[in-house]
């Protein structure tokens, strides 16, 4: 106990030293304002928070050692809950379909944006969560998708439905071209190269005024449905949707349409991802993440496997970008800063890397919650940062680390014993 007192005092003292100059002395012009209470409060909080933190940390440490037993019992009980999963999915889908009628226009806009972030999170999840490649310039592919639609419309009157595959493919091409040389290198270099690439794309979009309009951006039109427009009056001989269907015009139609379209795309993407994870390629991604040297010595071509993950992630990012341009009706480089990449990364990390459900929950959480807690807007990014660090301390391998697909010998289950041979015992 005496030892822990001393340590806590040390921690508090260091915290006080750290907080005094930055929070206690605030610059105003060339002078200073004194806020002598703030460092005291903060250091006091650190001092008092030391014991609960250490207690939790030790508890988790000892918990993680005996966790294989709890995982085992949880796994044996799984067949009894087999009906829960489809029911959960059905309920979620029903809620997703009813949501536009429950929420107002503003709420729907927020949820639509959240869906785009789910899409982006799913894309980055392939790269970071499954393949274990840290991509810090994911926003570049997002920007490629968004600008493909905006510039495509601006110069060639490209329709949304053409831009959707084209933007995705273009983003994938960018990803491949960038990824191919870099993926041969040491893993950490990828992070910094993608970071640099993201900034290059943003700076070019910002500076090449004659092509992209620079900081003023480019506008992008709203998508049409089989050539039918969502405006009150159609342009140049087009037919507005409400006239075609014989219903009254409502500005909500287009918002609902985009929302439902995104729900469809996100669901398709989730389905594809769930299948991909079980396919050999998905298994290889995860194997490569866990031990690259072992995989290479087993004859796996690490470059092509990584490239497939990187390209697929970029493709999904491009898809998200096209939707973003359509939703905003306007794109400019300020939407594609490094912070945006960090935000998407936070979605993947807080969702528990590699978990699809986690990504969905985290994306909803990180998009909807800030809208509800406007008063705490200043503390949003700070909290996200703290959560990222804590997540790494707590579960660096992601939430679903012990729930890999395993094959079990049927007789072992039938006789009431958990399968021993097929278990992943890590």
């Amino acid at each position: 106990m005496g030892h822990s007192w001393r340590t806590a005092c040390w921690v508090g003292l260091v915290a006080l030293l750290l907080f005094v100059p930055i929070t206690g002395l605030v610059l105003s012009g060339y002078g200073l304002q004194l806020h002598w209470q703030r460092p005291l409060w903060l250091a006091g909080a650190v001092f008092l928070g030391y014991w609960p933190f250490v207690w939790l940390w030790n508890r988790w440490r000892s918990g993680s050692q005996s966790s294989s037993r709890t995982a085992q019992s949880g796994h044996a009980a799984r067949p009894g809950r087999a009906w829960q999963r489809p029911l959960g999915i059905a309920l979620a889908l029903l809620l997703a379909l009813l949501l536009p009628f429950l929420l107002g226009k503003y709420g729907l806009g927020v949820v639509t944006l959240a869906l785009i972030y789910i899409l982006l999170g799913l894309g980055l999840n392939i790269v970071v969560g499954l393949a274990g490649l840290l991509d810090l310039g994911f926003v570049a592919f997002y920007a490629v998708g968004a600008y493909t639609y905006a510039l495509g419309y601006h110069y060639f009157h490209m329709s949304f439905w053409l831009a959707l595959p084209l933007g995705a493919l273009l983003a994938a091409c960018f990803g491949m071209v960038l990824g191919f040389p870099v993926l041969r290198l040491h893993g950490d270099y990828l992070a910094i190269v993608t970071l640099g690439f993201g900034e290059i794309i943003r700076l070019i979009l910002n500076n090449w005024v004659s092509l992209t309009g620079g900081p003023n951006g480019v506008s992008a039109p709203f998508p049409t449905l089989f050539g039918l427009e969502f405006s009150r009056r159609a342009k140049q001989g087009g037919v507005p949707l409400h006239e075609f269907l014989g219903i009254d015009y409502s500005a909500d139609h287009r918002a609902i349409f985009l929302y439902l379209l995104l729900v469809l795309v996100v669901c398709t993407m989730i389905y594809i991802l769930v299948r991909l994870k079980r396919m050999p390629i998905g298994r290889t991604w995860e194997a490569l993440r866990e031990n690259e040297i072992a995989c290479r010595s087993l004859g796996i071509n690490h470059v092509t496997v990584k490239l497939s993950a990187f390209g697929l992630g970029a493709l999904v990012g491009g898809l998200g970008g096209v939707f973003f341009a359509a939703l905003q009706g306007f794109v400019n480089p300020t939407s594609f800063t490094f912070f945006e990449s960090a935000h998407i990364l936070a979605i993947v990390v807080l969702g528990g890397m590699g978990s699809t459900t986690g990504v969905i929950v985290a994306a909803l959480f990180l998009t909807v919650l800030p809208e509800m807690l406007r008063d705490f807007a200043d503390y949003r990014v700070l909290t996200v940062g703290i959560a990222m660090v804590l997540m790494m301390l707590w579960r660096p391998r992601g939430l679903r680390q012990r729930r890999r697909p395993v094959f079990q010998i049927p007789t072992a289950v039938a006789s009431g014993q958990a399968g021993v041979g097929g278990r992943d015992d890590r």
Binding site: I22, L382, G385, I386, V389, L393
Partner: protein
């Protein structure tokens, strides 16, 4: 081409490059010893910039006027507190992850980077901050020139180069000649073996973070005095540039960091002066990507052999 403009760009590049080099030291030493890219290092530099302004203002409030006393006092205080930040970051966010997955420390570093940026933004405000001009005056060569035909070096610019060289010399001396430096080199070569032979490797790694942060603090002080204005976002760009310098010189190599810094500074300054100043950041990032792709070991680095 005007020879004087060329020489002037040379001077500007050298000054810029020495600050890149100082920050790059932090990246290169940390990478050398634990093989990790410390993404939060740019924010450490940013904190140093704020601390410089805060301590300058504090000395102003206390009524200390003498320039050498102020400069030395601010330098010591800034270095001490920045190093404390560097040490705490390592202790809190990296050390517990030493035996974790490869990605964990990187993501943790991004988290720390977000935390430090917003910690500064919330406590000091998002607006641009500045420091009063302390050291005015220029050297001109030739001094009797009337039109544009001269090279000028401000006192501050020469101070930057001199202080950067002195700090690098001090650091090299520490690494090459002292027992601490020997422990650092031993840990870098083989951490487990060094540990077995009685080197307290955890303490050495902390020390490396402290030294890296101290060098970033020197850079933060010099750049802040030179440019006079900064905000909570300056660490991001400076961080990538300095990392580029570290890669350019060969990551893990101490003289390489300084060389890389100077080369990058010169290249950037010439590009901005003679090609296009809008795209000078794009140019720097392109150098980074090209070097990582075609010559990942940099100018002075040795090839990395991955052992099982």
């Amino acid at each position: 081409m005007d020879l004087y403009i060329l020489a002037q760009q040379w001077v500007n590049g050298l000054v810029l490059g020495s600050t890149y080099g100082l920050i790059a030291v932090g990246y290169t030493m940390v990478y050398g010893i634990i093989g990790m890219i410390n993404f939060a290092h740019g924010e450490i530099y940013m904190i140093a910039a704020y601390l410089t302004a805060i301590f300058l203002a504090l000395f102003g409030l206390l009524g200390i006027q003498s320039l050498p006393v102020v400069l030395l006092g601010v330098l010591l205080l800034t270095v001490f507190f920045t190093a404390l930040y560097g040490w705490s970051v390592e202790r809190v966010a990296y050390r517990p992850l030493r035996h974790s997955t490869r990605l964990a420390p990187l993501i943790s570093a991004i988290g720390i980077s977000l935390i430090l940026q917003n910690y500064i933004r919330i406590s000091q405000g998002a607006r641009n901050q500045g420091v009063p001009p302390l050291l005015d005056g220029v050297f001109r060569f030739p001094s009797d020139s009337l039109d544009q035909r001269f090279i000028q070096i401000t006192y501050l610019q020469s101070l930057i180069v001199v202080v950067a060289l002195l700090s690098m010399a001090l650091l090299t001396w520490i690494i090459q000649r002292t027992a601490l430096g020997r422990a650092c080199r031993a840990t870098q070569q083989d951490r487990v073996m060094a540990n077995l032979l009685g080197v307290h490797t955890d303490r050495v790694i902390s020390l490396v973070f402290v030294m890296g942060a101290a060098m970033a603090a020197v850079a933060g002080l010099l750049v802040t005095l030179n440019y006079g204005s900064f905000d909570f976002y300056v660490g991001f760009l400076m961080g990538i540039k300095a990392f580029t310098a570290a890669v350019l010189g060969g990551i893990g190599s101490l003289p390489g960091a300084m060389l890389g810094g100077v080369v990058l500074g010169l290249a950037e300054s010439f590009f901005a002066g003679f090609v296009n100043s809008d795209y000078k950041d794009v140019f720097a990032f392109s150098i980074l990507i090209l070097f990582l792709v075609f010559r990942p070991n940099g100018l002075l680095g040795v090839p990395e052999v991955e052992k099982v």
